[in-house]
């Protein structure tokens, strides 16, 4: 039971965190240069975005669940099981971020999900 709860927290908080960070980054716009100063300035601006902190809070929760899971279960179970985040991630990117999930992208996401499940079972 505790494993199922921790896994659910890991999947939902992890995906929620990624989506919040993606939303914050989209608001800032594309980084065109990789010079250290440009990257540092960009990261500085990113940490003034509210969505960034919403993402970090959720990622911290997911991180705590990951550590607890890794102390209870084998990494060969824990890491592949997080592939459940594909479903939540794909739905979140479509409905919350407005991305276009074309058939090839859905096909790719599906193949990766099945592949990860097989690696987990193997």
């Amino acid at each position: 039971m505790r494993t199922a709860i921790a896994l659910a927290v890991l999947v939902f908080a992890g995906t929620g965190g990624d989506i919040a960070v993606a939303h914050a980054m989209k608001r800032l716009g594309e980084v065109h240069s990789f010079s250290p100063m440009v990257i540092l300035r960009f990261l500085g601006r990113a940490f003034r975005e509210g969505w960034m902190w919403v993402g970090i809070a959720q990622m911290t929760l997911a991180f705590c669940s990951l550590l607890a899971l890794l102390s209870w279960e084998a990494v060969s179970f824990v890491v592949p099981a997080t592939a459940l985040s594909y479903v939540t991630g794909a739905l979140g990117s479509k409905y919350l971020l407005g991305e276009q999930l074309t058939p090839p992208r859905w096909m790719g996401i599906g193949l990766v999900s099945v592949g990860v499940a097989l690696v987990c079972l193997g």
């Binding site: 990624d18 989506i19 960070v21 993606a22 980054m25 989209k26 800032l28 716009g29 594309e30 980084v31 065109h32 990789f34 990257i39 960009f42 990261l43 990113a46 990622m59 991180f63 990951l66 550590l67 607890a68 890794l70 102390s71 209870w72 990494v75 890491v79 592949p80 592939a83 985040s85 594909y86 991630g89 794909a90 979140g92 990117s93 479509k94 971020l97 407005g98 991305e99 276009q100 999930l101 074309t102 090839p104 992208r105 096909m107 790719g108 996401i109 599906g110 193949l111 990766v112 999900s113 099945v114 592949g115 990860v116 499940a117 097989l118 690696v119 987990c120 079972l121 193997g122």
Partner: protein, 138 residues
Amino acid sequence: MTPPKTFKLKTFIMVVLLVLLSSAGNLFFSIGMKRIGALQGLTLAAMRSDFVAIFSSAWIWLGIVSMLLFLASMMLVLSWADFSYVLPATECMYAVIPLLGHFVLGESVTALHWTGIALICLGVVFVGRTPPNTTSKE
């Protein structure tokens, strides 16, 4: 706007970096937590003891550094690429870890593992052929 070829190349380089950092981070966390052992429970004293054990581990700190670098790289790549593009592409990690286990550590990889790795690679190829950004108004 970045030219399409440069755009794809910089996305590819960043995805490779993300895969390497997340694989390393997961490996370090796993080693660290296995050395610490099962967490004790929900009492205040047990949580305090777990907290001290976790943050005294060099492996955990190596994992944290890897994951902070992963987060910074992820932030950069998400500034121009779709989340639904980056997420599956970074999942090469699931193929890289068993392959490293097989070729570097001599671990056995079952037929089911190989099938899974092949599907992951195929899926990443499918996603890689789609445009990295579908939301840009430029």
